[in-house]
């Protein structure tokens, strides 16, 4: 019995006991992050993916494509949200290095635990911890650039809050994450290297909801430079559309700076996700 089939079977067995997960307010769970976790596009947030509340499960799936000057990232994955307490996520990333006509692949398994609070209602921000277990399937390029490992684990602590009507009546959402990582370019170029073996990085996002369906925001993600290739911080400007609780479309403008020694990696990001 193959893995995909047994997973589908497990889902089917769970379905009868699942109440339909739509207990959250539209748009508040955010979108799917490129590493699979619920979040913004680049930064994992404290919210868990999907609209599940304390007695619901939510299943989400997404595909994201990012195109910058010399690279293209295709990733598809999904999340299961258990009772707004635990998020399990998985993503398969395929990263095309166009100048070399080769594709790097990585799998990331994520876990996120909500420690405290509610994005909207708690006095203090919602707080979650998470891990991302990364396995680079194509490690040759990473090793040739000086990476020490083809697997690595990121740990993060995320805080997020939505302030109702904060900005001239518009809702403002922010998230700050602190991540310990050894990854080079998110893991696509391996882990650790001659210039570093892991460090704390900060990441942040701010968004304004222009109406209940549309959020516009920006993200900034600090990154290490373990390989000495002038690895740059990442940033984006995004527009996320939530026509209903089942579908989300996110469009972003990316500035990834210098990536694998190639500068000016700017371009577009499009992500589609579905939730049940």
């Amino acid at each position: 019995m193959n893995r995909r089939f047994s997973f589908s079977l497990l889902l089917l067995m769970l379905l009868p006991i699942v109440s339909f997960a739509n207990g959250k307010i539209l748009a508040t769970p955010g979108v799917s992050q490129v590493e699979g976790s619920g979040g913004g596009g680049l930064v994992p947030w404290a919210q868990l993916a999907g609209y599940a509340t304390e007695d619901e499960l939510a299943f989400s799936a997404f595909c994201t494509q990012a195109n910058v000057k010399d690279f293209q990232l295709n990733s598809c994955g999904g999340q299961v949200n258990f009772y707004d307490r635990l998020e399990v996520s998985f993503v398969k990333q395929h990263f095309d290095v166009e100048p070399l006509s080769l594709t790097l692949s990585q799998d990331i398994l994520g876990l996120k635990l909500r420690l405290y609070g509610d994005l909207l209602y708690s006095t203090w921000p919602q707080l979650s911890v998470g891990i991302q277990q990364k396995s680079l399937r194509t490690a040759d390029v990473a090793f040739s650039l000086g990476a020490k490992d083809d697997t690595g684990t990121d740990f993060y602590l995320a805080a997020s809050k939505l302030h109702l009507g904060l900005l001239a009546g518009y809702n403002v959402l922010w998230n700050v994450s602190l991540r310990y990582t050894q990854a080079n370019e998110m893991g696509l170029l391996g882990f650790s290297g001659p210039n570093g073996n892991g460090a704390l990085q900060t990441e942040m996002s701010v968004a304004v909801l222009f109406n209940k369906h549309i959020a516009v925001g920006t993200e900034y993600r600090h990154k290490p430079d373990n390989l000495g290739l002038k690895e740059d911080d990442w940033q984006d400007l995004f527009l996320a559309w939530f026509p209903n609780k089942y579908v989300n479309v996110t469009l972003a403008y990316l500035d990834l700076g210098t990536l694998a020694g190639l500068s000016d990696q700017k371009g577009w990001y499009l992500s589609l996700s579905g939730s049940y």
Binding site: I25, L164, G165, L166
Partner: protein, 145 residues
Amino acid sequence: MSKYFSTVIFVFALQLCLGCSSQRVEQREALYAEIGGHEGLESLVDAFVQRIVKDKVILPYFAKSSVKHFKQGFINHLCGLVNGPCEYNGDSMIDIHTGMNINEGDFNRVVELLIQAMEDVGIPYSSQNRILAKLAVFRAEIIKI
């Protein structure tokens, strides 16, 4: 080091932003007028009751309530919250909701019905959010009791 510094600045800027809430005092007084005064509140609560009546999940919570009593109480409560010329002297949120055992999902569902009602009567999005901000603080006195 600079990256930690920029984060500190970011968080500090957020706090400043929260500080500007004191500047919203004037806007707050305008809120009552913005939603159409007492008449506006009456149509809002009427629309809200219409939404509740049509909702199979939420309606049972109101099985023992008098519609007239609920309308009067909610209009007065909202009126006071948006700094209108009324004072709410009804039962506390805790007294009203004790024993109902409302979970997070149903609470949010009622919030969504209220948002729909505000849309029904044409309250602008920014005023909707300000009203929700005033009501949000009562959540702890409403759910799971």
